[in-house]
Symmetry: none
Subunit: 205 residues, 2 copies
DNA sequence: ACGCATTTATTACCTGGTCCCAATTCAGTA
DNA sequence: TACTGAATTGGGACCAGGTAATAAATGCGT
């Protein structure tokens, strides 16, 4: 039996539903029911089956993620997903090159995205409230292309200058191949609450 | 007149209220009324006077901010607005530091945005279909803060290696003050692609 | 004692849901 | 064709966390 185009079978509708919610977490059931042309109850049953929380919960989760980051470590302000982190020692992050990261003509990632991943990792691995990049020496060893997964590994090499500076080396790989290498000097606030601030005495907010 | 510690005068209570909400935006009026030992209506009047939105709105705003932040770097083709460009010679770009570019705790811009502006400019100034960053040596001279406008000036210093490499220096200013300095080696297609390898010498500090 | 600000209480209403139960529709099969 | 089970829809009760508006109570200074 040929289905009307309007109404999709359950499976496909649920897939659509997930997609819609993923790329607009702010959407409410009412709107979804209009878009998928089913009743609001169906939408709710679908969410239930798919384990998708209600809109408010979704926003709350997003807010929490970005908030926790502020409180502890800027984990959310990081480009790439931190998949391992040993503070003051090392860390690993993963970043997948997608459409929006590449030059559309060539499919090659723009350098600053690869840098951003490495920089974020270098900052994240430093166990401090305030950690800022002071300088960096970087090499793009080979270009990274659409779809490739960049695994960045960061190592804290030294903690010098009365704990106010740290050197972090980051190596980014696609598979076995090294694609990026960077040596970062990170300023830290040196200690728990105060003492030396990173760069020249930044103002507090 | 010595006030009871329990009940503060309006002004102080409202100050407290702001503080409480700032460092826990998730808190609801009910809880606030318990903490400040006033009725829930008073809390609501206070919020009204202070222009503090309800909890749900707060969470929504946070979610929006973090959502925008994730999109902001990836979506832009070029970071910063190119306001002057002489191909193969020099270029100027402007980039304003907004909420989504800073560490929310400190209001200091994340390094990779400043880098991204400079990198984008360095690539843009190279008059070629394919231009990729091969390496860079960068210094963050002072931290850049929320609201500041970064003016990046890029100069093509040399075109060497049979037109396959170019050195571009970028200086970024806030007002008169230099905040960032970078030396970029950019690979260009120089006739045909084959833009694969980058590094040859590994000098690190 | 009066008056004004402040505080509290009350009620109606809103959004965006949950939970539960019943009715309906649809498609395939005995 | 009638039956069955899944899918869909509808409705009601309830919830949190509010807004809005109006009224009543409480301070407190003069």
């Amino acid at each position: 039996m040929v289905r009307a185009i309007e109404r999709l079978p359950k499976r496909q509708r649920q897939q659509q539903l997930s997609r819609l919610i993923v790329d607009n977490p702010f959407i409410a059931d009412r709107e979804l029911s209009r878009m998928l042309k089913v009743s609001i109850q169906t939408i709710r049953l679908d969410r239930l089956e798919l384990g998708i929380p209600e809109q408010r919960e979704r926003l709350k989760l997003m807010a929490e993620r970005s908030y926790d980051a502020v409180r502890s470590l800027p984990l959310d302000e990081v480009i790439g997903d931190i998949i391992d982190l040993q503070l003051d020692r090392s860390g690993i992050s993963m970043f997948e090159i997608r459409e929006e990261h590449v030059f559309s003509r060539t499919g090659i990632a723009r350098g600053h995205h690869v840098f951003a991943q490495a920089n974020s990792l270098a900052v994240a691995v430093i166990n401090d409230e305030i950690a800022l990049t002071a300088s960096a020496d970087i090499r793009f060893i080979r270009s990274v292309k659409l779809g490739e997964k960049c695994i960045a590994k960061g190592y804290v090499r030294s903690i010098s200058g009365g704990r106010s500076k740290a050197k972090v080396e980051v190596f980014t790989y696609v598979g076995e191949e090294m694609v990026f290498q960077g040596s970062f000097i990170i300023y830290r606030s040196a200690g728990e609450a105060s003492v030396e601030r990173g760069i020249e005495d930044a103002d507090r907010d």
